[in-house]
């Protein structure tokens, strides 16, 4: 060997390397935007940078409740780098724990309202009691809970979970998120990611004139064969219309009780033998899609005032498959105008109404899904409270019931007029803030989309005793708050009376219908200025994202006051039936509303849905034919007298892989009680699909 040292690369080699580097740079620069599309928006996503305590910067220990737990930055088998987060819960009686991104301006990732983001983490967990949880920074409210996205299945190996957020609400500038563990076990996470997944909205064109913004009504060329006082959308897409005696004492005297099933696909009705006078009953779909009907009309009031309406104790189940009623055991008390709310376990609670002797029913009546029977009066928890007639009882995410103050006939309940009822504890706690609680007779309440947001809107109302003009009040309540209080909402838009006479500034509506739509808005239609008199022609669209009404929606040319109903059809349209003014007539016409979204372009198609019932906290795969903005489950309506407390829209956070989408169902049955739901997806043009029916259990 001589002493000459050769360089590692010759001059020629160095020139070749330089050429390769230049070509590489050209390649990179020739793919514009790609690096931005995948940009991880998180600070310290791999948990590699730690502070003096050894905890990752821009992360914090979060949670609440009573548990024995530890947080550890582990170096043992991280997914990437040197660190991973390990949260161990060895015992827990309440609450949860999570490693959460720090809620401060420099650590929390910035977001843009209207955008969507794919959130991803690698994880291992020994417990399935985990969920990805998000908070958002509202420029007005500060940091607030946003929603839960997806449950993580147990895994001993590193696994990735990716979920797309809903559209970021207006007024939001930052979000934070993390994985919550709320059961005993160990959760490890690492290598978080958050990328902007906003999809470009295609240009929309509409040539339908006013229908582009107002939608359009069509009065069907046929009439309903029965007085559709009770309307229930069935698991097969048909509509059960129950009249019973239909507020017709002659039919009652003759024992002529009627039911028909309407098929929207064929426009045909099938009459169904009706075993009792189910007029003024309560109804709700059970977990298997059959319809539980409770109570009804035992007697009309006597002309001499010796007695009023009397309630039946009878209860039946209508089966959409057999198209027939089957009797179940009697209720514990007569029930004329009872409420009916399905619970997270599939059971049903019924409150209020009139008994067999016209007195107020004070028993809490409880139908058990497992036993398929009404409990005896001593088996059910009792508070002995009279809840009025058709009290609107909305199931809350923790299983309690929120009495919205919406009811039928007379004054509101004593006190604040709204409350939270805990069946298991037999307690009723007042909720304040409802405006003019004694003028919310024949108002309507809805749990606003999405159900995860736990907000209720109550609209309009009047009072049959004092008979003022119905009001245009609306009230909003956020049941996520520690002490929820109703807040005044925007006034109901004004409409016109018969003859096109504009309403005054103070006039509103009672017996209003509010229908949840698959785009997440609430269509409000129908109603009248007084009990069974003076129809109001007005319709609007309430947007829960902005708490505003879009006035000027097309109005149903048919008056829709007392004994009318409107409800969502699986094809995304709204059907309206009934009207029973004081002169005793009944309008048998059927109207169908096509919302503006159906004039905006092509409808997305759900090409396939993974089979079988859908378990809570799991993901169901669907395939679609194009880009999708969001997905939801909407519980089919079971409505009468402006009351359907079970109506709800459940958001389904998406895991998107092209046209294959994993839909993540909440683990909480109180947010989506068991039963059949309409599954909708909404395309990036804002147009919803036709619903596919899925069973949640």
């Amino acid at each position: 060997m001589n002493g000459r040292t050769l360089p590692l690369f010759s001059r020629r080699d160095r020139i070749r390397i330089a050429q390769v580097v230049i070509v590489t740079l050209v390649l990179v620069l020739a793919v514009p935007g790609r690096s931005l599309a995948g940009a991880n928006l998180l600070s310290n996503p791999g948990l590699e940078v730690v502070d003096s305590t050894g905890f990752p910067v821009c992360w914090e220990q979060s949670g609440w409740g009573d548990s024995t737990h530890t947080y550890e930055v582990t170096h043992n088998d991280p997914h990437g780098g040197a660190n991973a987060m390990r949260v161990t819960v060895s015992a827990i009686t309440s609450g949860d724990r999570k490693a959460l991104m720090l809620e401060n301006p420099s650590c929390a990732p910035n977001v843009t309202p209207g955008h969507q983001y794919d959130l991803s983490t690698w994880y291992k967990t020994t417990t399935p009691n985990t969920v990805m949880t998000m908070f958002r920074h509202d420029v007005a409210q500060g940091w607030v809970y946003w929603t839960d996205l997806a449950t993580l299945t147990t895994s001993t190996a590193w696994k990735q979970q990716t979920v797309r957020t809903p559209l970021v609400p207006a007024g939001t500038d930052q979000i934070v998120w993390g994985v919550t563990i709320y059961g005993a076990g160990t959760l490890q996470t690492d290598d978080y990611s958050m990328v902007d997944a906003t999809q470009a909205a295609p240009g929309t064109s509409c040539s339908a004139g006013p229908a582009c913004t107002a939608g359009a009504w069509q009065v069907m060329p046929f009439s309903s064969p029965v007085r559709g006082i009770h309307a229930v959308v069935l698991k097969n897409g048909n509509v059960l219309l129950v009249a019973g005696s239909g507020n017709d004492p002659a039919a009652f005297a003759a024992g002529t009780f009627t039911t028909a099933v309407y098929s929207p696909r064929t426009g045909t009705f099938t009459t169904v033998p009706t075993p009792a006078d189910l007029f003024c009953s309560g109804h709700v779909q059970l977990a298997d899609g059959r319809v539980l009907i409770m109570g009804g009309n035992k007697a009309y009031p006597a002309a001499d005032g010796s007695h009023g309406y009397e309630g039946l104790k009878d209860s039946y189940i209508f089966d959409p498959d057999t198209m027939g009623y089957t009797k179940v055991n009697d209720m514990t008390a007569g029930s004329w105008y009872p409420s009916a709310t399905v619970l997270g376990n599939g059971d049903v609670i019924s409150l209020g109404g009139l008994g067999e002797d016209s007195s107020g029913t004070v028993a809490t009546q409880y139908f058990t899904g497992a036993g398929q029977r009404w409990l005896s009066i001593n088996e059910a928890h009792q508070t002995w409270s009279f809840w009025g007639l058709y009290p609107s009882m909305v199931l809350m995410q923790d299983g309690r019931l929120f009495y919205t103050g919406s009811h039928v006939f007379g004054n509101g309940l004593p006190g604040t007029g709204a409350s939270i009822y805990d069946y298991h504890a037999s307690t009723i706690t007042p909720v304040s803030g409802l405006q003019r609680k004694d003028e919310r007779d024949q108002s309507m309440s809805v749990l606003l989309p999405p159900a995860q947001d736990q907000r209720v809107l109550t609209i309009g109302g009047g009072n049959i005793n004092s008979n003022p003009d119905a009001n245009r009040l609306t009230d909003l309540i956020d049941l996520k708050q520690a002490t929820p209080v109703y807040q005044p909402g925007p006034p109901l838009p004004g409409g016109t009376m018969t003859g096109g006479i504009p309403q005054t500034a103070a006039q509103g509506k009672m017996y209003v219908s509010a229908v949840l739509l698959p785009d997440g808005k609430v269509f409000e239609t129908g109603g009248a200025l007084h009990n069974r008199a003076d129809p109001v022609y007005e319709a609007s669209m309430f947007d829960p994202a902005t708490n505003t009404f879009a006035a000027g929606m097309a109005t149903d040319p048919v008056p829709r006051g007392y004994h009318s109903s409107a409800f969502l059809l699986p094809d995304g349209r709204v059907m309206a039936v009934g009207n029973n003014p004081g002169d005793g007539t009944f309008d048998m016409r059927v109207s169908v509303y096509t919302p503006p979204y159906l004039f905006k372009g092509g409808r997305p198609q759900i090409l396939s849905v993974a089979g079988g019932p859908w378990a809570y906290g799991t993901t169901k795969q669907i395939t679609v034919d194009g880009p999708i903005l969001k997905a939801s489950l909407i519980r089919p309506e079971a409505v009468t007298h402006s009351s359907d407390p079970n109506q709800r829209y459940v958001d389904l956070p998406m895991t998107v892989t092209g046209t294959t989408i994993g839909l993540n169902l909440t683990s909480n049955p109180n947010l989506a009680p068991p039963g059949w739901y309409m599954l909708y997806v909404v395309g990036t043009n804002g147009v919803p699909s036709v619903a596919q029916w899925v069973q949640v259990k």
Partner: protein
């Protein structure tokens, strides 16, 4: 070029080519122009920019992981109960996740009511209709809207025909006493 150098250069080339292919073929090209760039922290208190309390040597350089874009292989496995676990055991059932909302601290529950010994009275005209008039299915208001001066005119405007007086003429709609209201 010596063999070792040639090998080294070849490996480098392969790496660069692989990076190029990944850049071109990796999914994510469908991302829309609406995608926002990653926000850059401008806050001087941002712990990753400031000399943090991470120890004598200061914070380590922030590792920038490669962009994570969902791919067929990397996307989360469906969390259906039917999906097999790495351990092969059936997935345990997830418990409901319930939030700690609406605890109403400080709000007293209503006083519990005793088991009733009587009935809860509801007046017969609960529907707001005066059933002294017309058929039961009809609804002459028990209380007419404020400002109503002529009740029969109010009824006629809303389609009512003359009504039988079924019981007492409570609202004085039958001044001639012929048991037909609003027939004058």
């Amino acid at each position: 070029m010596r063999g070792a150098r040639r090998t080294l250069l070849g490996l480098g080339l392969l790496g660069v080519l692989a990076a190029g292919v990944w850049l071109v073929a990796a999914p994510g090209s469908h991302a829309s122009p609406a995608v926002a760039p990653a926000p850059r922290p401008t806050d001087s208190t941002w712990p990753l920019l400031a000399a943090g309390p991470a120890g004598p040597a200061g914070p380590a350089p922030v590792p920038v992981p490669p962009p994570v874009t969902p791919t067929a292989a990397a996307t989360a496995v469906p969390s259906s109960p039917a999906a097999p676990n790495p351990g092969g055991a059936a997935a345990p059932i997830v418990q409901p996740f319930v939030q700690d909302f609406a605890g109403q601290p400080g709000v007293k529950p209503l006083k519990p009511l005793p088991s009733p010994t009587g009935t809860h009275f509801v007046r017969p005209n609960v529907d707001g209709c005066d059933h002294n008039y017309g058929e039961i299915t009809q609804c002459v208001p028990w209380t007419f809207p404020p400002g109503t001066t002529d009740k029969c005119a109010w009824l006629a405007e809303r389609g009512f025909q003359p009504l039988k007086v079924a019981a007492a003429d409570r609202q004085k709609l039958d001044p001639d006493g012929n048991k037909i209201a609003c027939d004058d």
